[in-house]
Symmetry: C2
Subunit: 286 residues, 2 copies
DNA sequence: TAACATTACGTTAGCCGTAACGATA
DNA sequence: TATCGTTACGGCTAACGTAATGTTA
């Protein structure tokens, strides 16, 4: 059976052009290389080189074989990686959430169904979630972006959520029932960074707000208590009557902040995750 | 670098189910196998087997790897075959002709353009020519069937030819200028076997002729001289005024026997054969 | 006890490196 | 004469086979 090392050597030779440079690059001696290349030729039953007394170069067949060998090597590399990936997929998987509440609600459901699995959880903006799903970085995503390709993905609605603005009772906006984001232009708002997709930095209306950015959660919480700056809160808390002390919640009218959540996996993983899909419905996260 | 032999062993084990049968199949000892499989696992960094005291079987990852390995092995096999094919394609190629006259006329043109090549020439019915072109059995074909897929093939008209029936001057049909094949039902005709596609055995009108089949050319030629059976001849001879002695040529009207020839190669070989295509036109064979 | 996998150990084939040689620019 | 490829040869690693051991149906 053909020795893959010889293919590797052939590919390296194509890059290095001379045996001595190839030998240096592969950390072996020139005589070893001479013999490797002769062996490859005899194994394949084909001449690959044009040999002169102190010069050697690939002939047409050699060039063809070198390019082809490169593909073969990358196939073998893929094989190794995919076997490892497959093995890991049997004992664990990765889930990405687009915001806090879906993570808070769905996380224990997933844990319950896969008690012996290593489950990696990530909370992030969901712009790239489908890409990351395709690349097997995550096997399960919770996103507010509806899947486009029904042949590729399996999904189910798993809830909805609306953004509210929380203002002190004596704030100028406190009489309002709802508000458009446009009206918040230049208004100072305490904005916590770890809000997943809610932080829509590419939304111009959102950009025009004067964000007082908070990266530390305890600082953020304290500022909400001690200042009268508005902050964001979602329907999850409103629906449960959980209000920040001395504050009123005003619904944000813009549709971008009134979203439906989808639990999505690749169709090929449908059976694997079916028990999770069976446990949820469109009101699970709400 | 991963040893391909170990993949071969893995695939064989999947087929044989036990190490002892695998060992027998591969002509090596069981202990060697045990070690090979352990090495494969350590090379990949993954467990592939469920081991009990006197039993071993593939786990999920092992099954996945075995199927994947099969593909890798066939890739490597293809690699070897294709390198050899490529090498051969550099020093020679194979041409198939659908009948005698195209071979007679085009053959020297091809020889002239590729003086240092091994050129294999075949004359045959052209039913399968496109298939044989796809499979690289031939690199160039001359056929009367126009190529369908213009993205795949490169071609040029290279001539046309019509079939005639040659009858003695005193024959009952000798006053006719042309004739339909239907009228030859049950007529006895001397038919030489090596006429390429002209022998249309799947054509019912052709089948109904009473063929006096001739496999040997000199016998065929003698019978034409000494008997008054009609025989077939083509426009090539008629056009040149070459007549069989004491015979008259009658044109066959059916369109199946009035054909255009095409010289065809794969589009990927276009450059290689371009000089031949430049030497011919639609009247070269006629 | 027959069939199977594994462990232990001595043997050997094959590949590598060092050294020496030959050709070229 | 410096660089490059090839040949010759001795040493070592890695994989094999034989023999022995342990387990199960």
């Amino acid at each position: 059976m053909l020795d893959i090392n010889l293919l590797k050597t052939l590919v390296t030779f194509e890059e290095c052009q001379t045996l001595s440079k190839t030998a240096e690059s592969l950390y072996i001696s020139q005589p070893a290389l001479t013999k490797q290349m002769r062996k490859l030729e005899s194994d394949l039953g084909v001449n690959l080189f044009i040999r002169k007394k102190n010069h050697i170069e690939l002939n047409e067949t050699g060039k063809f074989a070198a390019k082809y060998a490169k593909r073969i090597l990358s196939n073998i590399n893929e094989f190794q990686n995919n076997v490892i990936k497959y093995e890991q997929s049997l004992t664990g998987f990765s889930v990405a959430f687009c915001s806090e509440i879906p993570e808070f609600i769905l996380s224990p459901i997933i844990d319950d169904e896969f008690p012996n699995y290593r489950i990696n959880k990530v909370m992030d903006d969901d712009k790239d979630f489908y890409n990351l799903l395709d690349k097997s970085v995550h096997q399960l995503i919770v996103t507010h972006i509806k899947p486009q390709d029904n042949n590729k993905y399996y999904y189910k609605k798993c809830g909805h959520e609306t953004l509210y603005l929380s203002v002190p009772k004596n704030h100028i906006l406190s009489q309002r029932i709802d508000i458009g984001l446009k009206e918040l232009e230049k208004v100072s708002v305490l904005t916590y960074t770890k809000m997943g997709f809610w932080n829509q930095w590419d939304n111009i209306k959102f950009q025009k707000i004067h964000h007082l950015i908070q990266t530390d959660h305890s600082t953020y919480a304290e500022l909400i208590q001690t200042t009268s700056y508005p902050c964001f809160i979602t329907s999850y808390f409103v629906r449960r009557g959980i209000q920040l002390p001395r504050r009123i919640d005003i619904k944000i009218k813009d549709s971008e902040f009134n979203c439906t959540y989808y639990l999505v996996c690749l169709k090929s993983d449908k059976e694997k995750f079916e028990k999770i899909f069976n446990k949820i419905d469109e009101n699970t996260v709400s």
